[in-house]
């Protein structure tokens, strides 16, 4: 989970190279939702350094079949190399990624571009399946789901009955 302030990052007192790696990774954008960095998305699972300062970075895919995973690994490696960091990037699948790991900053960025951020899973358990999703453009709560599968694996397509605009909703996962 993100920390109390809703952020991901190095532990206080982490090595300088670990901090530098988090900084570099914060500049890697998700190729399909380019307003979010991979740190915002919560897919940077661990950054550690060995005694020689060599870094290990663990990333996790959002969905098993997400076609962006390979590109993200490549871009993370490129960003770390540009920052002159000696790092090995690996992909871990357990524990599975959840939308609860999207940082608060990431949620705000999604909302700004008209993508409804995912509900927190705890909250969803209380309200699903008839959860009210407000239109990100006009705020109307009179909306409907068009398709559970949207433009990317992680989003569903909804539409507003008031202003008629279709919009994306980040699925709770």
């Amino acid at each position: 989970m993100p920390d109390a302030a809703g952020c991901w990052g190095p532990e206080p007192g982490a090595d300088a190279v670990v901090k530098a790696a988090w900084g570099a990774l914060a500049g890697v954008m998700d190729p399909e939702i380019p307003v979010l960095s991979i740190v915002d998305l919560g897919i940077v699972r661990a950054v550690s350094a060995d005694a020689d300062g060599r870094l290990s970075v663990a990333l996790t895919p959002t969905y098993s079949g997400c076609p962006a995973t390979n590109v993200i690994v490549l871009e993370a490696e490129t960003a770390l190399a540009r920052a002159r960091l000696d790092a090995r990037v690996s992909v871990v699948i357990a524990p599975p990624w959840t939308t609860d790991w999207i940082s608060d900053a990431g949620r705000d960025k999604l909302a700004e571009v008209g993508i409804v951020p995912p509900p927190h899973s705890g909250k969803r358990a209380l309200t699903a399946p008839d959860e009210v999703i407000a239109c990100p453009r006009c705020g109307s709560e009179d909306t409907r789901q068009i398709s559970r599968f949207g433009s990317t694996a992680c989003k569903a397509l909804h539409a507003c009955n008031a202003c008629l605009e279709p919009f994306d909703v980040f699925k709770c996962h």
Partner: protein, 254 residues
């Protein structure tokens, strides 16, 4: 893990990986052909998830086997007789209703299976299952919703899915077959008992069929052979398309 158990787990993981890959490929054939855009996207989204599961499962199968075969080697360099997928998965696409029935019968099995595999004593398999179960929950809702909509829809849509159900039902027995090797895996707490799985699957399927106003077909003759590499003629055509590139240009990179 003993050598026998490891070999049994290799077989199990390979069957699961092959079933995901073949069904994923079948769904990908709908790309550009589904009855509406949203459904085109939905079917191919599900296809991507299934291919993703296949990648994890085949990678693990290759590690268990220990002969240096990776996911690509297993997917692209085996012929029909070495494939271990369920016959249900390779059944060719007919109409959309047929695809939904095939998918629902599979999804109802997958969601019950992965839910139980999360508690596997094999850590890697449990990790893959924990990832997959979140996705197959979406799949089964999607295919189940459509089955109700079509079954409880017009006379034509009802007739089409009823026909598909009759055609595909004989392929469902294979999902619950077991042999000695699998029995050992059950005893070791690595995989769930197929009998328990069948009870859960049956309850889930019957509930949706009732909503869909469809009669559950009687359990008659069940088709078998997938787990021994005995397939219908359809799988060869599917592999010919899927494997064309790596067979024509072995070890190509770009």
């Amino acid at each position: 893990m003993s050598t026998d158990l490891k070999e049994a787990l290799f077989g199990y993981t390979l069957r699961l990986g092959d079933t995901s890959l073949v069904l994923g490929h079948r769904l990908s054939e709908w790309c550009g052909h589904a009855p509406e855009l949203e459904e085109d996207i939905a079917l191919t989204n599900v296809a991507l998830d299934l291919v993703g599961h296949a990648r994890m499962l085949l990678t693990y199968a290759g590690e268990l086997e220990g002969k240096g075969r990776d996911e690509d080697r297993l997917a692209y360099r085996r012929d029909v007789f070495d494939y271990r997928n369920h016959l249900l998965a390779e059944q060719p696409n007919r109409d959309f209703g047929h695809t939904i029935v095939r998918q629902f019968l599979h999804d109802a099995w997958a969601v019950e299976l992965y839910g139980r595999l999360c508690a596997s004593t094999d850590e890697t398999l449990a990790g893959i299952a924990a990832k997959a179960v979140k996705e197959v929950r979406y799949h089964v809702r999607h295919s189940g919703d459509w089955l109700v909509r079509l079954g409880d829809g017009t006379d034509i849509s009802h007739a089409k899915v009823a026909d598909a159900l009759g055609r595909l039902w004989p392929y469902t027995g294979e999902m619950f077959e077991r042999d000695e090797a699998e029995q050992a895996l059950v005893a070791a707490g690595i995989v769930p008992d197929p009998a328990e799985l069948k009870a859960a699957w049956t309850a889930r399927v019957e509930a949706v069929l009732e909503d869909a106003t469809l009669d559950r077909p009687a359990d008659g003759w069940m088709q078998k052979g997938g787990r021994r590499g005995e397939h219908s003629e359809h799988l060869g055509y599917l592999l010919a398309e899927m494997q064309f590139l790596p067979r024509a240009y072995p070890d190509a990179t770009w």
